[in-house]
Amino acid sequence: MATTYNLKRADFIFRNENDWEKILNRTLQRDKTELINELISSELKGRGGAGFPTGLKWKLASESKVQEKFIICNADEGEPGTFKDREILTKVPFKVLSSMAICAYIIGAKQGIIYLRGEYRFLKPDLEKTISEFEYYCNEINFDFKIKIFMGSGAYICGEETALFESMEGKRGEPRNKPPFPTNAGYMDKPTVINNVETLAHTFTIFKYGATKFYDLGVQFSRGTKLFSVSGDTPKPGIYELELGMSLQDFVDEFGDGDTKAVQVGGASGFLVPRKRFGETAIGFRGKLTGISLPTGGSMMLFNSSRSMFNVLDNYLEFFREESCGQCTPCRVGCQQLLIGIKAVKQGSKPASYLDKLLKLTETMQYTAKCGLGQSVANSFSSIVENFREEMIY
């Protein structure tokens, strides 16, 4: 039955004990299967938003017999309201690089690549310096591994892993058909592990402290901690490391301004939770608290009663209309229809019942869009329209 989980702060990611060389060296001595099993038993799930089990991903890639493989760090942090990866790469880049090296060791890769968001160009010089230091150390311990940075060009869709590969291959950033999945055929059609920056930072924690320590944090199905990018109507915006599984009510109690009307969990592609649902909503991957459980890439946007939810949705849809890659019909045309549609309802040129037609449309987008972008537009749309219908109309 339901247990109440309180908001618990943690400090793993940014705690810097300058011991990465020791941890890396120690881990690279260990048996590969043992490492994979440790990662699997930690139940770490991808922190980019999709929540795929990290251990399984590494295992699948390690099983491929193909000679050339890649480990890619996805630093194309583009979800509106997310700014944690930047901080990790600034403050504890060695953790990320070490985890990439460990992954390379396990799956048998010699090349790591950081796909850095175009807008993060200012991070590049420092990161390059860090990489050369890191490579120097790898060389010293006779570990053959190189890391390079690939600069994105500002398209949101390139955070989608297969669009990211296309972009790296010099093509248009358009998601591929799946299967094949990256662990079979990713970058240059070679087996590829692609992990979010934060995921890699967590694997460092796991290899440092052991899986149990990580597993003991959080709740069932949602183990460990997570970085949250807190923004919006809050007296204390910023980045916070919290244990997964907390209730949204606890979160709002801590970060709200006393007048929180709704929270957008997971950025523009996430869900909007209205005040009446705070208590029953848990932040985690699966498993019920008393109501729903929401996975997230870590973006938490708080809105107080001064905000028009129509404007919020309008803003998200404008974002999606522009950031859809444009190749598949449901996403390209769907986003345009949703945006023009809510405006038409607001202006009265379409009846309120048109919102229901649009909700049906988001269902089709969810079922038929080629990638996560088009599929998840339904999330914010339906949660905002269903909970704040009157704000859409009047």
Binding site: E323, Q327, T329, P330, V333, Q336, I340, Y367, T368
Partner: protein, 596 residues
């Protein structure tokens, strides 16, 4: 052989080859799944999403064209969810599409229109997005019109231009709602590397890419009593036209086509095959002359391999992509242009007509021929040599407009004077045909004997592989050609410009020492041309190919130099191949073009 897998479609278990997609498995089982971005000639894109199906256990639908069959997969192709989604997707496409069908050239032959009819999209709930768009129509190319308002962004044209032609004139630009199919710097199709081959037109499911049609110009000329309107028909038209008239692919309709053209009111119905034979005389002689200069005179200015010059798409391609090899092109005009130049000189003289009053029309399987006729070089008769170029499709439209019952037409013969042809000319329509025709004649000129192949069928140059190589050893040549004794004449044949690139790169990197190469811009040669009936696919092209070789087999004269009209024109008018008159009328030069 790898193990077959079991897949259930709509409750029935099928055993399928591994690697097959759900769409292919369904098609094999006779289950229709609608498609738009899918095309048999092209790689899978999976972007229109109209082919979605339900897979048991999955909440999301799968694009059947892009999803491989898996063991024990349960597929449902006709559930409420599937139908609603497909309908929704068609509605979405229509909302972004200028669906003013009655004013569209492709009205009646549009895949989106067909789907809208099939799914009975009776009302439009969604908001019409067209007024919000800044759509443009590019009419600057003499061959192709690109109307963005009719585009559904399936990217079939982009894949065609890249995969079949290796040209990449069309590509995707921008993203999101602004995503569109565009060109380098959004220039007009006329100002980029577009070869005007028209394969994009052939592969476009809607009216976004169409040929520039000259139907009204043709009607106007025919109706003008002052004008003497002659028409020439290319070899590939006769094996394609039937498809537009309700015949199965692969049925040759030469006699009916001639009858129809006479019915339409053309004053004289003639055959491009005649000048195809003439091309062989000129080009074959040119090849032998080049070989002589290169091998005997050791003239270093002679360029080998010599490349054919019949395909205007290929000509524009080499002008853009390999301008340093223009000297390798045969200087012969294409059969269409030879015909045009002779129509207003030789034909006019023989018929005692004022060339100014002659309107020279051609029916071609090709959109690039429109561009070719428009070239400034093509005025050697003192007039524009070919006035109006129609595609096979345009001719079909005219026949339908004229109310002709094509099926019931009696078969008729081409008019005389430039209406006779050999089998060698007919096979110009298929990839390898020019090569075969040239070898039949050149070998005989050199040795005095027929080519050493059964029934004159030079099988090694036939077929639909992208690049084919062949060689013929010359033995016991006639005295004049003694220098060729023992020489192995090396040839290559390529069709589809992506294959032309392979051959040209091999030549460039000196990996191949060909003497003679035949290149046709379109897959399958002219029979798969950009002006041929839509749809096109490998099976259809194979059937047309068969029909072409069948025509050749049934003709009594199968060698160009035996065409009596060809013999006559050299005697009465031209003198000899590569002679002065030939140079004036039948040969041309090329211009180097930029890549951008």
């Amino acid at each position: 052989m790898s193990k077959k897998i079991n897949i259930t479609i709509n409750g029935v278990v099928y055993e399928v080859e591994p690697g097959l997609t759900i769409l292919e498995a369904a098609q094999n089982a006779g289950i229709n799944i609608p498609t738009l971005c899918y095309h048999k000639d092209l790689c899978v894109a999976g972007n229109c999403r109209v082919c979605v199906v339900e897979i048991a256990g999955q909440k999301r639908l799968a694009a059947s064209c892009a999803t491989p069959c898996q063991e024990n997969m349960e597929v449902l192709t006709n559930t409420l969810k599937v139908r609603n989604s497909r309908k929704h997707i068609i509605e979405l496409l229509l909302s972004e599409h200028n669906a003013d069908c009655t004013k569209c050239y492709k009205n009646g032959n549009c895949e989106l229109q067909e789907l809208a009819a099939e799914y009975k999209i009776m009302s439009q709930d969604l908001i019409d997005l067209v007024p919000y768009k800044d759509y443009t129509i590019d009419m600057f190319s003499p061959s192709i019109i690109k109307d963005d308002s009719r585009c559904i962004r399936c990217q079939r044209c982009v894949r065609t231009c890249a995969e079949l032609q290796g040209v990449n004139a069309l590509t995707v630009a921008y993203k999101g709602d602004k995503m569109k199919i565009s060109t380098f710097f959004e220039n007009s199709m006329n100002d980029v590397v577009c070869t005007t081959c028209g394969q994009c037109v052939n592969h476009c499911p809607t009216g976004a890419l169409i040929e520039k049609n000259y139907i009204e110009d043709a009607w106007e000329a025919i109706s003008d009593p002052e004008k003497h309107v002659i028409v020439q028909t290319a070899p590939a038209v006769r094996v394609g036209l039937g498809e537009e008239m309700g015949f199965e692919p692969g049925e040759s309709v030469t006699g009916k086509m001639v009858a129809a053209l006479k019915n339409l009111g053309f004053d004289s119905v003639l055959d491009t095959d005649f000048t195809a034979d003439l091309t062989i005389m000129e080009e074959g002689t040119e090849l032998l002359t080049r070989l002589k200069k290169a091998l005997v005179d050791k003239d270093i200015n002679i360029k080998l391999p010599m490349a054919t010059s019949c395909s205007p798409g290929w000509i524009k391609y080499i002008e853009h992509m390999y301008p340093e090899y223009l000297g390798n092109l045969s200087t012969c005009k294409s059969p269409q242009q030879m015909f045009g130049a002779l129509a207003k000189t030789y034909y006019a003289k023989a018929r005692k007509l004022d060339p100014d009053k002659i309107v020279s029309v051609s029916v071609m399987p090709c959109t690039a021929k429109k561009f070719e006729a428009n070239r400034p070089e093509m005025h050697d008769s003192g007039y524009r040599d070919v006035d109006i170029v129609l595609t096979t499709r345009e001719l079909a439209i005219m026949i339908k407009q004229a109310g002709i019952d094509f099926r019931k037409l009696p078969e008729k013969k081409f008019d005389r004077l430039m209406g006779d042809s050999s089998g060698a000319a007919v096979i110009f329509g298929a990839t390898g045909g020019v090569m075969e025709a040239a070898l039949r004649t050149a070998y005989e000129i050199v040795t005095g004997r027929e080519v050493p192949f059964d029934n004159l069928d030079i099988l090694p140059v036939r077929g639909l592989e992208g690049v084919r190589e062949a060689s013929i050893k010359i033995e016991k040549p006639l005295e004049n050609w003694a220098f060729l004794d023992g020489v192995e004449l090396k040839c290559a044949v390529a069709h589809g410009l992506v294959n032309a690139k392979k051959v040209m790169d091999a030549v460039k990197e000196k990996k191949a020492d060909y003497h003679f190469i035949e290149i046709m811009a379109c897959p399958g040669g002219c029979l798969g041309g950009g002006g041929q009936p839509i749809p096109t696919n490998p099976e259809i092209r194979e059937k047309r190919t068969k029909a072409i070789y069948e025509e050749d087999k049934n003709l009594s004269i199968r060698k160009s130099h035996e065409n009596p009209e060809v013999i006559k024109i050299y005697k009465d008018f031209l003198g000899e191949p590569l002679g002065k008159k030939s140079h004036e009328l039948l040969h041309t030069k090329y211009v180097a073009r930029n890549r951008y």
